[in-house]
Amino acid sequence: MAKKLGFLVNIERCIGCHACEISCKSFYQLEPEMRRRRVTELPEDLVGTPVRAFVSTACNHCDEPACKNACPVGAYTKREDGIVVHNQELCIGCQMCGKACPYKVPVYNPVKRKMDKCSMCYERLDVGQLPICVEKCPLEAIQIVDYNEVQPENGVSIVPTFADPSITHPTTQFILPKPGKQTRRSS
């Protein structure tokens, strides 16, 4: 059976250090305003009791990628392992993929005048290395999972600020933080 690779982001572990975001930006030498991965703070009422939580998101390598269907030049392909790859050689910079993606993943490179997005570092994966964000996270909060092989027990496919997954069926899953224990003094 073909693979279905996707990110598994452990929000319980993430401390919002942005190492994933910056290491990716640095590795791919992205322009100042560009990011392939972003870390954002989540509302503190995420799990019932107040928690400070962060989520790291990149391309969700969706099962039904809206970018692929919107692109007029066919610059997007979905590999057998599920990774959605953008071929910058073909891109004409119409920016339609950025509009169509519910997660605003493809961003415009103002120097190349073409779109750009996370490729799950497939060139690294192909030679047995981990994607940069996975490798550089000091908390090991990001993993690559073959969702056809493994279904994480406590993985969820939606968190606040994340668009409705029924639109493009993103592969990314998240592990939510455990609710804190509230204790009350009896008197």
């Binding site: 269907n69 007029p72 030049v73 066919g74 519910p102 605003k104 668009a163």
Partner: protein, 267 residues
Amino acid sequence: MHDMPLVIFTVLSQLAIGGFVTLWWIDQKSTIQRKTGLLISLSLVVIGGIAVLVSLFHLGHPFAAYRAILNIKVSWLSREVTFYGAFVGLSMLYSWFWIKDAASWRGMTGAVATILGILAIFSSAKIYMIPAIPAWNSMTTMFMFFLTSILLGPLFVGVFLIIRGELSMNLTAVVIVGFIAATVVMLVYFSGLQGGLPQAAESLRLAVGQLIFWVRLFTFIIAFAILAITAIGKQKQTGTIYTVVFVLILISEFLARLQFYETAVHL
């Protein structure tokens, strides 16, 4: 203002298609002198060509625009480019048949170009009917795009025909029906935004907060009033009335389209 080329492209291309279909239809049903028909069709070709040129400016790589037809199997943008490109090509051929005064060829070419033009507007609307932008993701986008064509096209052709004293069909009735339909669609659109997802309601809030929203409404109402009052009073339509109404509607549609792009809020 990144989307300005798209504002100009969509309005002008819809004007060109609406005008072309009107000209072809009148040519089938009655007689238009060769000089008049040629003048109108060449004007439409120029407008259609300008629309294509302007649209290139929203691309990072305009000289690679020809590649935009590669993904026709799934991409509505590819389909729009293909259909509209074919439409402009055929409308040039149609003008050539005006030069040659070949009525039957004109009829056939015009019929195919009409179908391509309709497909181009349909594809154009489908590009924007995407869940990622709730304000765009409804049938009102489709209706709005076609109504731009129905309002502007007949008025454009009507101005030429009235000035040359050759208006033999009741274009005013067509435009008034277009006005009524546009009013209904506008109301459905605004109430849909208000009652839709938070991003759709935010689009409406942004739109209403801009002065151009009110200028758009004002020009639309005044144009409607001028045409309706003169039609009810059985006043003979003049070139001046049609020109004023056309210019007001062109401004109104341009501003509405500008807001369509500028106030789009992503999920």
